[in-house]
């Protein structure tokens, strides 16, 4: 499985970029459309929470940041994850013409879609890093640690996508249901709220949510200027490995029937 992914790495990379490019081809702004949604998100939240209805700063282990920055950081990570997951889920159906004709592993096409999600995530995080100083939050070299966090996150999205994409081939309802599931899921982790508003006994459950350690890690790095501790790293790596192992073994077990259903 991994051999195939490695063998087609160039194809995956080239097409992940092309996917983004072709989505905006023919538009006047072109690549601008990759940046604009994230930019709009950042600007809207910072204007709303600093001018329209000011919210007190969020306290974070000694320091404090504006709520807008807190929100932007969490939302961009969440959007990156949910985009990767929904693209990954559609990937096998979208690649049906190739799958029906070419002897290439299914996982290659899932990886391609998720890789384009990773690309969007990295671009929007870079954008956030550029815009943050305007909001009084200054850059630091620690921020580069966001890159491995994003990579681990997309690794996890890849594993989950393998399962969902395979199911989506057999039951086309999966793709539809995913949109709703993602909305509910977003409220199960502290993306748009501060976790201190949740009762103490509930906070322990956050760790059972695969996305939570990634939120913690990116906020530690981006807002707190320090690397997350070992537990957070191992939680992220653990969730990623688990989902990839499950994902690839599910793909393997349905391989025989999968292409017949496309």
């Amino acid at each position: 499985m991994f051999r195939d992914l490695w063998r087609y790495r160039r194809y995956i990379a080239v097409n992940a970029v092309n996917d983004l490019k072709s989505r905006h081809i023919g538009t006047t702004l072109g690549w601008g459309w990759v940046l604009l949604p994230s930019l709009a998100l950042i600007v809207v939240y910072s204007v709303v929470f600093s001018q329209v209805m000011p919210v007190p700063k969020v306290g974070l282990a000694g320091s404090s940041v504006s709520f807008a920055i807190y929100l932007a950081c969490g939302l961009l990570v969440w959007v990156g994850f949910s985009e990767s997951l929904s693209r990954g889920t559609q990937s096998l159906l979208e690649s049906a013409p190739y799958l029906k004709k070419l002897p290439i592993r299914e996982s290659v096409f899932v990886a391609k879609s998720v890789a384009s999600g990773l690309l969007v995530l990295l671009i929007s995080l870079a954008l956030l890093a550029v815009v943050a100083p305007l909001m009084g939050h200054f850059p630091s070299l620690v921020w580069f640690a966001l890159i491995p966090v994003a990579a681990l996150l997309c690794g996890m999205a890849f594993g989950m996508s393998c399962v969902l994409a395979a199911l989506n081939v057999f039951f086309r309802d999966v793709g539809q249901a995913l949109g709703i599931a993602l909305q509910i899921w977003m409220w199960l982790v502290p993306v748009v709220y501060v976790e201190t508003i949740v009762p103490d006994w509930m906070r322990g459950f956050f760790w059972y949510n695969p996305v939570y350690p990634f939120l913690v890690a990116s906020r530690d790095i981006f807002l707190g200027y320090h690397l997350p501790d070992g537990f957070v790293w191992s939680a992220m790596a653990g969730w990623m490995l688990l989902s990839i192992v499950v994902g690839l073994s599910v793909l393997k077990s349905v391989r025989g029937d999968l292409r017949d259903c496309l």
């Binding site: 160039r10 194809y11 072709s22 013409p97 070419l102 039951f171």
Partner: protein, 456 residues
């Protein structure tokens, strides 16, 4: 031939699970194999063959016989349910031209990307770019996005790419019948050169003449089973037997009918035509029906129903038509189409200068067209048609009353070793040879040889 076959297929079977409802699959999973909610469809059963290096194996069969499934399995795009297969060497499966092309890349980029996608090492195609560019004849379009291409340009690019990747095993599925005729001829030349170079070829086609031309051996599949494997001409004969076997069975019950069309026997003739009728019903029928075709059949010159004929020999197409209202200037005719659905020949009573007199409501007519099929071997279908020419100024137009499509198929065969002609159809030809000089051994008094051929 060689001790080491390039392609080895051993007892390969393929089953498709057919579920009536998508959720039946989920129910089956959840029951952990205790419930069975699907029907099995065996697309292939126990297929075994080997192909030696440099050999060309043809695969033929009717639609749905499992050809494409077999190729998909060999190409690795589908998994066999049972059995083993091995393909040794660099294989390229041309299941669809341009599979792996993305519309937003330029032709040049697509050649590079798709060659990697097809499993060739990076940089492999780069050295062949100029050859591919030249063969594809795309000019400056080679550097434009593929989505701006016409379909012909797309096909040229795709085929050129495959051609120059120089696989050791090449699987081609009906792909050669694309592009304009010049490009097709170029493709066939290229395929022949590949064979000469020692490329192993698996070739699937409905084009029997190209199969028996190109292939060393032919595998005939029918309903997923291996019917025949061996000599191409024999395989093609088996194929035609299969194809026409169906039609023959339909008309097998007929008594030998006298071929006379004498007016006294009209009723008998009409009932014979009815009995052997090839009309398939409403699905392929068009038109108003004021001048209705009730039945149509094809018989040989001895009056026996036949759908097979040796090239250059004749068949009789008989149509029974009835006027359901008064028809002032009725016309009746037929059209013959080849396997590309190209109109080969159309003729009517009017064309033949034998216009049909006006018919009263209830009148019936049997029209017999005796046609010499000076056509290349292959399969043809015909359309039976009635029309009304009244009130139309242009003698070549009219109003259709009734059209029955896709009748037949009629199979034109060839049994002699030397063909009487090559090409689509025989044209009336006269040959005159005159010799000069002393070397001629012909008698001086008769220096010419004449051969006449044509519909007489």
């Amino acid at each position: 031939m060689s001790a080491h076959p390039v392609v080895e297929v051993a007892r390969v079977s393929k089953r498709f699970k057919l579920f009536a409802k998508p959720w039946h699959r989920a129910a089956e999973w959840l029951s952990l194999g205790r419930r069975r909610l699907h029907d099995d469809f065996w697309a292939l059963r126990d297929i075994s063959f080997t192909v030696s290096p440099g050999e060309c194996l043809g695969i033929i069969g009717r639609n749905g016989s499992g050809k494409s499934t077999l190729l998909k399995i060999l190409a690795g795009a589908s998994q066999p349910t049972a059995g083993d297969f091995a393909v040794r060497g660099r294989m390229l499966a041309l299941l669809e031209l341009g599979a792996g092309f993305s519309p937003d890349l330029t032709g040049r980029q697509n050649v590079l990307v798709s060659s990697e996608l097809l499993g060739f090492p990076p940089g492999y195609a780069a050295g062949k770019l100029s050859d591919i560019e030249a063969f594809a004849e795309l000019g400056e379009h080679f550097d434009r996005p593929v989505r701006t291409y016409s379909s012909g340009m797309f096909v040229r690019l795709a085929f050129s790419t495959f051609m120059f990747l120089e696989p050791q095993v090449f699987i081609v599925d009906e792909a050669l019948s694309v592009g304009d005729v010049f490009f097709q001829q170029k493709c066939f030349d290229a395929v022949r050169r590949m064979l000469e170079r020692g490329t192993t070829l698996l070739y699937v086609s409905h084009d029997m003449s190209s199969v028996s031309n190109v292939c060393d051996r032919v595998l005939l599949l029918d309903r997923g089973e291996q019917q025949f494997l061996g000599d191409p001409d024999e395989a093609v004969a088996h194929y035609y037997a299969l194809v026409t076997g169906r039609a023959v069975r339909q008309t097998a019950a007929t008594v030998v009918a006298e071929p006379t069309a004498s007016e006294a026997d009209f009723t008998a003739l009409a009932s014979d035509v009815r009995k052997d009728s090839l009309l398939s019903g409403a699905a392929n029928r068009f038109g108003g029906g004021a001048f209705e075709i009730i039945a149509a059949r094809v018989v040989d010159l001895r009056g026996r129903p036949a759908l097979m004929v040796e090239a250059l020999e004749s068949l009789e197409f008989q149509m029974l038509a009835r006027a359901n209202e008064d028809v002032a200037r009725p016309n009746i005719g037929l059209e013959i189409y080849d396997r590309f659905n190209q109109l080969v020949y159309a003729v009517s009573a009017l064309n033949l200068d034998q216009p049909v007199a006006s018919m009263m409501c209830g009148a019936e007519l049997v029209a017999t067209f005796r046609i010499r099929l000076s056509l290349q071997p292959g399969q043809y279908t015909f359309v039976a048609v009635t029309a009304d020419q009244s009130g139309v100024a242009d003698p070549n137009t009219g109003v259709y009353h009734d059209r029955h499509h896709k009748l037949g198929p009629i199979t034109v065969t060839w049994s002699r070793p030397l063909h009487k002609f090559y090409g689509m159809a025989a044209l009336d030809t006269e040959l005159d040879l005159r010799f000069g000089g002393s070397s001629s051994s012909a008698e001086p008094s008769t220096p010419s040889v004449r051969e006449a051929r044509g519909a007489r």
